[in-house]
Structures are given as C-alpha cells and as structure tokens.
Symmetry: C2
Subunit: 317 residues, 2 copies
C-alpha cells in the first residue's frame, strides 16, 4: 500500500495529507443548523449527536470535494468522531467511504495498540476483515492506520500480518509532535541513546517484514516540530515512510520539514488539519467567509503544497 501512496504523491506532486479533524467549533453555523434540523434522532444516546454527526459528514464532504484533485490522502482523526458516539462513528465510516470513492487514500488516525488477539481485532477493524458465517466483512476499512508502540512487538505484529494479507499500511508513533513528547520518548537509555531511537530501530526491523517497493508498509509518525530528531531518524530508517504532523497550527515550517525527505524527494508525507479545514477562520483566508469554508480549504492546501515543493527542491539541491 505504501507504493500506492507514493504513486499518488508523485502523480499529484504533493506530499500532503489533509487532516479531517472536524472539531465542533470549526463547523460553520449554517451547516450545523441545517443538519440539526434534518437529523434529530438516534437510537444511541442524545439525539443532538445525530445532528452534529450529519454536520460533520457534510463538512468533510465539501472539503473533500474541494481538495480531492490536489492531495493524495486524507487523515481523519477518529477521536473527533468518537466524541459524538455511535452517530459520530457512523460519520467516520461514511467519511472513509466517501474519500475512497473520490480516489483518496485514507490514513485512519486511530493510534490503536494492544496485544495479541486484541491487537488483531483492531487491525481487522481498521485495515482487514472479519469472517462471519463464511462471509468476509469489513468494519472501517481505512488504507493506513496509526499505531502506538508502547506494548512492543506483540502489539505491532498482528497489524503487520493484516498489512501483508490485505496490502495495507501502518504508521507507528516514534517521536510525536507535542511539547511533552520528550517525557518518555527522549529519555536517555543506558547506552546514551534516546528512547525514540530504540523505537525507530524497531520500526525499521518490523518494516523489513512488509516491504512494498523501496519503502515499507510499516511507516513512522515523527512530528514536524522536531526537525533535528527527524534528521537522525531519517538516517536510521532509510526505507521507512514518515507521516509528519505539526505543520502550520503546531508551528512547524516547510524549512523544518526538509530533513524529513530522502534524496529522492520522497520518504515523508506532511499533515495539516486545522490549517486547511479551518482556514476560513484565519485572517489570511477570511475573504471566503464561513459559507466558503471549502474554497478556503482549497486555497490553503494549494499554499501548503507550494510551500513544501519549495522545501523539497531545496533539499534536492
């Protein structure tokens, strides 16, 4: 599946993924009100959840329609759907389907991680299938999922097996973009190396079990906010594709990102969520207004792609 992602990145000349993290506060009022009027019942909890979940889906749909020709992939953040209960999860399900219908690859930002049969259940839920009465059923069916490494190989191996069975991919958290990521990830181990390097080494090792062209289906999450650490990890894991969150809203610039790429101009895909989907709330794109939120997202995506192309060109010099 990583080969497919790379093909799409090349085709669109855009190592960019749009984060579909529809917080309630980003939903334009007109859209929320209309959805609430027409979808006011759920069997599962408070009825308002059905309305807000419908608004979330409509919001995503407009954004996706506006950016589908520009980017290879989207990354819905499942927490933002889970908070709206069963209707929210249904909006997640519909979003995954809709994006795939539009030809986009979907990275489910689910950060799941458990052990043995439980990890296998997560892997089947998000990347594979379960067989019921001889029929193969798919639950959420993303193309990639993010995975937490804290439980070790027992947690990752079931995902790799499903990746190999069904041609899917994962991105394992290595060095996350947040300010406190260093608390455990930067801890110096006995031999003087930080924890995230050990995790990076394991990711490299796990990746050898699922190569797909020049890169592995086992990728890594490395925050765009940590360019120095990324340079080190880039060298340590030459065949690992990096998913880099933290551009824009979290403060990372295209320059910070140049070290994430290999000499082939590949090796990383950069996420922006708020910076694109909530662009209409920023001064720079305020001219679109809340009715034009999807066009604002398109403009912001174009700007981000240009910005990154510059950084990659510089890297290649």
């Amino acid at each position: 599946m990583i080969a497919k992602l790379i093909e799409e990145i090349k085709k669109k000349d855009a190592p960019v993924v749009v984060g579909l993290d529809p917080q309630l506060k980003f939903l334009p009022q007109h859209l929320l009100e209309d959805a609430m009027r027409h979808h006011a019942e759920t069997m599962y909890g408070d009825d308002e959840l059905a309305g807000v979940a419908e608004a979330v889906f409509r919001f995503n749909k407009e954004i996706v329609d506006a950016v589908a020709d520009l980017v290879p992939a989207v990354k819905p953040q499942v927490a933002m759907y889970e908070q709206f209960g069963i209707p929210g999860m249904a909006a997640y399900w519909r979003t995954v389907r809709y994006c795939q219908e539009k030809g986009l690859l979907v990275i489910g930002d689910v950060k799941r991680g458990d052990i043995g049969s439980t990890s296998e259940a997560y892997a089947r839920a998000h990347l594979g299938s379960v067989t019921v009465n001889g029929h193969r059923c798919r639950a959420f069916h993303e193309d990639f999922a993010t995975v937490n490494p804290y439980l070790g190989t027992d947690g990752i191996k079931p995902f790799i097996d499903v990746c190999n069975e069904e041609d899917r991919g994962i991105f394992v958290l290595v060095k996350t973009s947040n300010p406190s990521s260093g608390e455990f990830q930067d801890v110096k181990t006995e031999d003087g190396r930080p924890m995230y390097e050990l995790v990076g080494e394991k990711v490299k090792e796990w990746g050898e079990q699922s190569m797909d062209g020049d890169y592995s289906n086992v990728g890594a999450v490395v925050g765009a906010t940590y360019p120095e650490q990324a340079k080190r990890l880039r060298t340590l894991m030459p065949h690992t594709f990096i998913l880099a969150p933290g551009y824009g809203a979290q403060g990372a610039t295209a320059e910070d990102l140049s070290g994430f790429f290999n000499e082939d101009g590949l090796g990383a895909i950069v996420n922006s969520s708020r910076g694109i989907i909530a662009a209409y709330t920023k001064e720079k794109y305020a001219r679109f207004g809340s009715e034009g939120f999807a066009e604002a997202a398109r403009a912001a995506a174009i700007d981000m792609i240009e910005d990154l192309r510059g950084a990659i060109a510089k890297r290649a010099d």
Copy 2:
C-alpha cells in the same frame, strides 16, 4: 470514582473485574445463529455485522446477569466490538448501558491516547460529555477508561481534567502483561532504572491532581504476569489503584498477585476475560455445555474470587 469502585469491591468482597471481550469464537453457535436470523441489516457495511453484533450483546447480557451480584465491575475490550464496525460499536454502547443499569462499574478498555484537543475528545467520548446546542451529550459514558502514556502529559492531562469535572477515573498503562512488554517498558534508562518506573512515577504525580479518598482516580495497568515489577511499583505508587490483567489465561496465579495489594487488602483489581466468559470451553466447566455458558461464567467467577481472597488473606498475615 475510585472511591466508588473501592466501596463496591468491599461490598462484594471481590477485587475482580470480568473482561467482556467477546471474540467470535467464544459465541455459542445457538446464540449466534438465532441473532443472525433476526438481525440481518445494517446501513454501515456488510449485513452480517448486524447479526454478529446482536449476538455479542446477547452473550454479554447473559454473562452480566449471571455475575452482577458477584463482582464490582466489568471491562469491555472495545477492539472486540470495533472489529464489527458500527453495529459492533453499538453493541459496545448497549453493553456499557446495560452493565451500568445492573449496578456494575464499567472500565472501558480503550487504551486511547493522543494530544491536546484530540485527547480531550477521547476523554469526552468515553468519560465526559460534549455540549451541542447547549445540550450536554454523552457518547459512550464508561466510568473508567484505560489510557496509553507514550505521548506524555499532553495526552493524560485532558483525561484528568474530565475525571475531575465528571468524577471518573483512568488506568494508565505502566507495565503491560504481554511477553514483549519489556522491549520498551523494561529498557534501562541512564540512571539504571527501567522505563516503566519512570512511567510509574509520572502516574503517581498525575494522580496527585485527582485524589478521591485514599486512592487517586488516576490508576495504573500492571500485568499480573510481572509480580516482581508490581511489588516495586506498589511501593513507588502507594496511592495508585492497579488494574491487573493476565490472571488465568495469560498464566498468572493468585500467588503472583499478592504483591499487588496494599496492607489494607486494597489497591488492585484483577481482570479475567477468557477465563470467565469462555469458561464453558474449558474442561473444568465443560459440564455446563455451550447452552450453559453464563452459568459456567458464574462458576468460574466464584472460583476466581475465592482464589484471590486466599491470596489477599495471606498478604495480610
């Protein structure tokens, strides 16, 4: 919320939680077939998922009816529901509600963990509420949730805030029960201490922000399969309640568990999943047959409670 859990543990004299991890292979054929016949449609994916999800709920309901007077809490493992898509998540939702109606506390074994607004969304999804149009809506509404610490304080703080707002609790993964948990958790840090001790110290520190009687609403997950490490952690985190998986099917015995408890006979709650819910598949309880799976679960729960009472009594000597 931890005070409430302790009260229930004392009332039932049983530091035991029943893991509701209904793998497909544990569902008795008669129950699965009947549910498949009557629930054969879903709007979200393959129709078989609606049938199997109904079977999962009916299975849980019978187990819960059989053990509700014996134990203080249940721990549904969300991965086992997520694999059945939206119908599966609805079965999870119904299970949480049903258990709470029967007076049981619910520990959502969700192992979520992210940063900032995303972690807040998970916390609201599972322990808190979201406000839509001035109405407070609850998504899944468990009493406790398990949380992954890899992202540091940024990931945990939003959960603690929701715990304090709504009187809820979390259990943070410290030393997990699986064979490969040592790959990262046991790594020796510069000062010679293993990683899990650093995490344990943080859990203690986080816990000070949410005390509820003698113990904190911020608990820890420590595998019953690692008794030596647990003893050390018990001393390091005297006010941290421990959720201990790994009894029975994963090989830990009551003796292994004695070091998990404080001198007050409190401080830990031990989980068994397969050992109880799939007891009817074990030789010891085979006499109940698959039709009597719930009675077999009750018998296994009684045996486990007796076994642990013995270990705690020995601890108190």
